[in-house]
């Protein structure tokens, strides 16, 4: 075994930037889970569809990338509202199975529709953080800066800044707006929310909207790491995000972000860098995916509420 510490920062940076994306998608899962105690399995495919919208608007129609992203996020939000209204609201919210099946069905349908329209080839989508903008003074290369002798990519910095900004805006929406207050009330106690006059259906639609927009943001950020967009791009990302959400606590927004980042770190450091240490070379292993399941399993076994989730106490 060779403890190859000089390449470790590379893996940490990589883990932190992938983890931030898992955190973004985990946030989309937790937003809906908090309000409905329901896992929306279609989160990933909705996000994939959002990424394809950016592809169409930016790559095909030639719109400015960031404008395309904003439009795609808004359209995803609208689609989220539509799905909540038409596919989940008619069902009894206390009966989870039908709605979970619906989100699973939606997963398959969205994947098939995207596959039919765009087929399953990977299509290149511009990287919003490919090169440093020209106004940034060069301190290494035009795509990275040197930190601890390793390359910290502009892409990683861009992802972190974007996530931080998105979290800040989410915080403002949830804590400073009336709709945000209503959403927190519905998440805390649906029946009491109704008793103070909150229209719970509309409020859940609002949650679906924010969650879908966040998912789309995550998908656009992860696309360059996957070589581009394709209908299956979010399948494994969703599993890592689920692991992150479970680790952080399914009902904690902050926990989702931290859990996602931790999953990214565990993958990059324990699995990938650990692989280099053990095998002496970069050994791209399927164990990355297995690690996600191990994280879910260990969390559910030893701390079912996750690191930051509310512990359910049954008072008898």
């Amino acid at each position: 075994m060779t403890w190859n510490f000089d390449i470790l920062p590379d893996f940490i940076f990589n883990g932190l930037s992938l983890g931030a994306i898992y955190g973004t998608v985990a946030l989309a899962l937790v937003l809906i889970f908090k309000a409905t105690t329901l896992i929306n399995f279609a989160t990933g495919e909705l996000a994939m569809l959002g990424a394809f919208l950016v592809y169409v608007l930016h790559m095909e129609q030639g719109l400015w990338l960031w404008l395309s992203m904003l439009i795609a996020m808004a359209l995803s939000a609208g689609l989220g509202i539509l799905i909540e209204r038409s596919l989940t609201r008619p069902f009894d919210p206390s009966d989870h199975l039908p709605v979970v099946l619906i989100t699973l069905g939606l997963f398959l349908i969205l994947n098939a529709v995207a596959g039919d329209i765009w087929n399953y080839q990977v299509r290149i989508l511009s990287n919003p953080f490919g090169k440093f903008p020209s106004w940034v003074p060069s301190v290494g290369g035009d795509r990275f800066i040197e930190v601890f002798g390793s390359r910290l990519k502009y892409q990683s910095i861009g992802i972190w800044v974007t996530l931080a900004l998105a979290l800040f805006i989410l915080g403002l929406i949830l804590n400073k707006t009336k709709a945000g207050l209503a959403f927190r009330a519905v998440s805390s106690n649906v029946e009491s929310a109704r008793l103070v006059g909150v229209h719970t259906g509309r409020t859940l639609g609002f949650g679906w909207a924010i969650a879908s927009a966040f998912g789309t943001l995550g998908a656009v950020l992860v696309a360059p790491q996957l070589g581009g967009v394709n209908p299956n791009m979010m399948a494994t990302i969703l599993i890592y995000a689920l692991a992150g959400a479970a680790l952080g606590g399914l009902d904690s927004l902050g926990g989702a972000v931290l859990g996602g980042i931790l999953v990214g770190l565990i993958q990059a450091v324990l699995v990938t860098w650990g692989g280099v240490v053990v095998f002496g070379q970069l050994y791209m292993s399927i164990l990355q995916l297995a690690a996600a399941f191990v994280i879910i399993l260990i969390t559910l076994l030893f701390r079912p509420s996750g690191l930051f989730g509310t512990r359910r106490v049954e008072r008898v």
Partner: protein
């Protein structure tokens, strides 16, 4: 206290039925809550008291007619009923544990569009000073009595004309219960707020109420002014422990 906030309104319930699945819990209730009065519903566990309040707010399967003031609200959704001026403080208080005391009060004013919401918060902080001290604390960390005060204050933030209270004394120490009921009486006397209270503690309830109904197996078994019921031998035996 400001006394022009609440309008007078009465509640009229006719032939109210309610069921959970195949089980019929209410079997045709008729009763009235006169405006500016405090009425109370007494009854044993499982008699249908809580269901009565839930049925009035359309929170379960019901049939029958419920009239608030001059408006039929039998088919009005639960959230919409708040806008009609009736607010329900559910059993077990129903506060939002993950929200701060302040946010609990703010969400209580969700249906309002006026700009006196902050004034009302200050007013309830004055009346329940302990809530003011705990304004940034999460509601889940408050004691049972504080949570009950919060639940009542939150309901009043909607500026209701009629307040439904489901067992406000549940789980509270006797001294706190007395204090709470004193506040209810003051509120009713000073603002004329109409109240319908479900209560197991019959002594306390009859002391404060103008009118009382006794429910047995989903039907009104007895009704009358509080004094009449206090002197009724059957009520004394079953509910007052005489």
């Amino acid at each position: 206290m400001v006394d022009d906030v609440f309008d007078e309104v009465g509640l009229k319930v006719e032939n109210l039925h309610a069921s959970y699945g195949a089980v019929e819990v209410l079997r045709g209730l008729d009763f009235e809550v006169p405006a500016k009065n405090v009425s109370v519903i007494l009854g044993a566990n499982g008699a249908g008291k809580t269901t009565t309040l839930r049925a009035i707010c359309n929170m379960c399967n019901t049939s029958g007619t419920v009239t608030l003031g001059d408006r039929d609200i039998s088919r009005t959704g639960t959230a919409e009923i708040v806008r009609q001026g009736m607010v329900h403080v559910p059993q077990g208080r129903g506060t939002f544990p993950e929200l701060s005391t302040m946010d609990n009060l703010m969400v209580g004013a969700y249906t309002r569009k006026d700009n006196e919401i902050k004034d009302d918060v200050d007013r309830w902080f004055e009346i329940f000073p302990v809530l003011g001290e705990r304004s940034s604390q999460m509601a889940g960390s408050l004691s049972g009595g504080e949570q009950q005060m919060l639940a009542v204050a939150r309901a009043l933030m909607a500026r209701p004309r009629l307040l439904l209270l489901d067992e406000p004394s549940l789980g509270l120490a006797p001294l706190i219960i007395e204090d709470l009921f004193d506040r209810f009486i003051t509120l009713n006397k000073e603002t004329g707020l109409t109240m319908l209270i479900v209560e197991q503690n019959a002594n306390l309830a009859l002391d404060m109420a103008d009118y009382a109904y006794v429910i047995e197996s989903g039907e009104i078994a007895l009704h009358g002014t509080s004094d009449q019921l206090k002197n009724d031998p059957a009520v004394q035996e079953a509910y007052l422990g005489a």
